[in-house]
């Protein structure tokens, strides 16, 4: 194993060629709802436990199930109301379990990319054939459910192998959401294909906001606005708002979150886009 995973070349932020977004906007903002399915009784993985309690882990499972019964629609309605399309990080088995949730995203014009089969099945230690199987399953399942061909990948529960990026590039995917080294779209070094990294802004993921930094709902909303204001002032930047309905769609959080969306939409410098649109606009300038 190399100490450097050889993902990309170093490129200092200063003096980069200027990127401009459609309509002269300075910050491309994309919202990434994670539409997930966590299994109640998944098989054990040698490297990671799915649940902290013996199965069923009632709070862990039910908390996430809240997305698919209650909070998905709450979150999605607020996004639609303020003109934000979703680019969905999808546990593709959700297409089988709760196709109603997936269909709602399709009806709203959202883009779908793969977040693995389930968020309780981890990629660590998969051999190449196994990893190809989950990529092919993802492509097939999302195509059947939505008519879309996935363009991106966010590894299931952020679990990887050293060959994941080469494989998704080989299958023709355009972007990865797993690399957090930049606030702009950047090329990724892969054996074949043409893969880029799109900023996923993990630090403003609602899970980080509420469970790493222990923010109140209003502090999190304020954090989104500060992140946006700085990136919009710099220009040529990308801001992602990565969400989980079971977190952002709780009744005490959704109101302050709506205010953050209202602020960004009304500002005038934001290009509200889908992940694939952002990658295309960036490629057009290379």
């Amino acid at each position: 194993m190399n100490a450097d995973p050889n993902l990309y070349d170093y490129s200092p932020y200063r003096n980069r060629p200027k990127i401009s977004w459609p309509g002269g906007k300075s910050c491309a903002v994309w919202v990434a709802p994670n539409l997930e399915y966590y299994e109640i009784d998944p098989p054990a993985h040698p490297k990671r436990k799915a649940w902290t309690k013996p199965h069923p882990d009632v709070v862990g499972y039910a908390h996430r199930d809240h997305s698919n019964r209650v909070s998905h629609w709450r979150m999605a309605d607020v996004m639609s109301k303020h003109g934000f399309p979703g680019s969905v990080s999808l546990s593709v088995a959700l297409c089988q379990h709760h196709p109603e949730v997936v269909a709602d995203g399709v009806a709203r014009g959202w883009e779908f990319f793969s977040h693995g089969i389930y968020n309780t099945r981890y990629a660590y230690e998969m051999d190449e054939a196994q990893e190809r199987a989950i990529i092919e399953d993802s492509i097939r399942t999302v195509r059947d459910a939505t008519g879309q061909t996935i363009r991106g990948w966010l590894a299931p529960a952020l679990t990887h192998t050293p060959r994941t990026l080469d494989l998704i590039a080989e299958y023709g995917l355009d972007y990865t959401c797993d690399l957090y080294h930049d606030d702009q779209v950047q090329p990724v070094k892969t054996a074949t294909g043409n893969l880029v990294s799109i900023p996923y802004s993990l630090e403003v993921n609602d899970h980080y906001g509420f469970f790493v930094y222990n923010m109140s709902p209003r502090e999190y909303a304020d954090t989104l606005i500060r992140q946006y204001e700085w990136l919009a002032a710099e220009g040529g930047t990308v801001m992602c708002i990565p969400l989980h309905a079971y977190l952002i769609g709780q009744p005490h959080r959704i109101g302050p979150f709506e205010e953050a969306l209202r602020h960004i939409a009304a500002d005038g410098r934001a290009w509200l886009a889908r992940a694939g649109d952002i990658v295309d606009a960036w490629r057009g300038q290379q």
Partner: protein, 304 residues
């Protein structure tokens, strides 16, 4: 490297859930619920009354809030028991001042050890929900079914002996259940449990047991103890939630705001004042129906 080929088999990948405990439905597709007196948001206050033995048990797991130091942990034993002596009386006074009734999720041991407290709660018209035996009475898969059955029945017997009434509701410690719990609760005559936080209205399990979700994200333990927020931030979150639910109820029917509180957390002198003001504010909202768990379940049940 390779994984066991079975790791890529998905035998429960099918329409609906990967279990048979309850069925799927989306909240906005259900028949709207009407609460009493035309109110749109039921405010449900649930107080946990917990006695932590100074000899903690880790089987099946150690309860949140339990002893932390080597034996004898006088610090946590007494700081938790403070809730049962002092904090809970501040809450009872606050409820009386606001003119509201709450549910008390009570360890069976509280009834045996502090009968005066249970009498005061019942005399004020509050509901008693069964909350296991004591804070060593945790449940998870692996607990032998006979032990779990005895734990449930032991809790119910103690509480019934102290109050003259068998509780209708059940809250597990840390909301943790085993695969057996829903059926054991049903067999014990329980009408509703509060453990599954996947919804914001009551719903029925396939075995007939009702789940009344007690949102853990809105609890004082989560917001104040885990996320280390101030009581003012907590109160702000509760009123923000109430405002949101009030607006949602206009389109979708009755909603519930569950406030899960702990006497040793919210009943401290520097927090109780803000909590009292929150209660007065919520109780005064024209949309609010402050109700106990069994009242909410009973109104919901009649409309199904």
């Amino acid at each position: 490297m390779t994984l066991d080929p079975a790791y890529l088999n998905y035998p429960k990948r099918r329409r609906g859930y990967d279990h048979d405990i309850y069925d799927w439905s989306a909240i906005q597709d259900r028949k709207p619920v009407q609460w009493l007196r035309g109110k749109s948001v039921a405010v449900w206050i649930c107080v946990s009354l917990e006695w932590f033995p100074i000899t903690p048990s880790d089987v099946p797991f150690r309860a949140p809030g339990h002893m932390q130091t080597a034996f004898p942990d006088y610090r946590h034993y007494t700081a938790r028991d403070y809730g049962n002596r002092v904090g809970v009386y501040r809450l009872l006074d606050a409820f009386a001042k606001a003119g509201i009734k709450a549910s008390f999720a009570t360890n069976g041991a509280i009834a045996g050890r502090y009968p005066e407290l249970v009498r005061d709660i019942v005399a004020a018209g509050h509901e008693i929900i069964a909350h296991s035996t004591d804070m060593n009475g945790t449940i998870a898969s692996g607990l032998p079914i006979e032990e779990e059955r005895a734990l449930i029945s032991g809790s119910l017997v103690s509480l019934e002996a102290a109050t003259g009434k068998r509780p209708n509701g059940w809250l597990s410690i840390a909301r943790s259940q085993s695969w057996n719990t829903p059926d054991l609760l049903k067999d014990a005559g329980i009408t509703y449990c509060c453990d599954w936080v996947n919804d914001e209205l009551p719903y029925r399990f396939r075995n007939g047991l009702i789940n009344l979700p007690l949102n853990h994200e809105l609890s004082d333990r989560q917001i104040i103890t885990v996320q280390q927020q101030s009581v003012d931030s907590y109160a702000q979150s509760m009123t923000d939630a109430f405002d949101w639910l009030t607006a949602e109820a206009k389109n979708f029917g009755g909603r519930i705001l569950p406030l899960h509180v702990t006497p040793y957390i919210i009943g401290l002198p520097y927090r109780i004042d803000a909590f009292e003001r929150l209660l007065m504010e919520l109780a005064a909202r024209p949309e609010a129906w402050v109700a106990t768990g069994e009242e909410i379940v009973s109104v919901w049940k009649e409309q199904q």
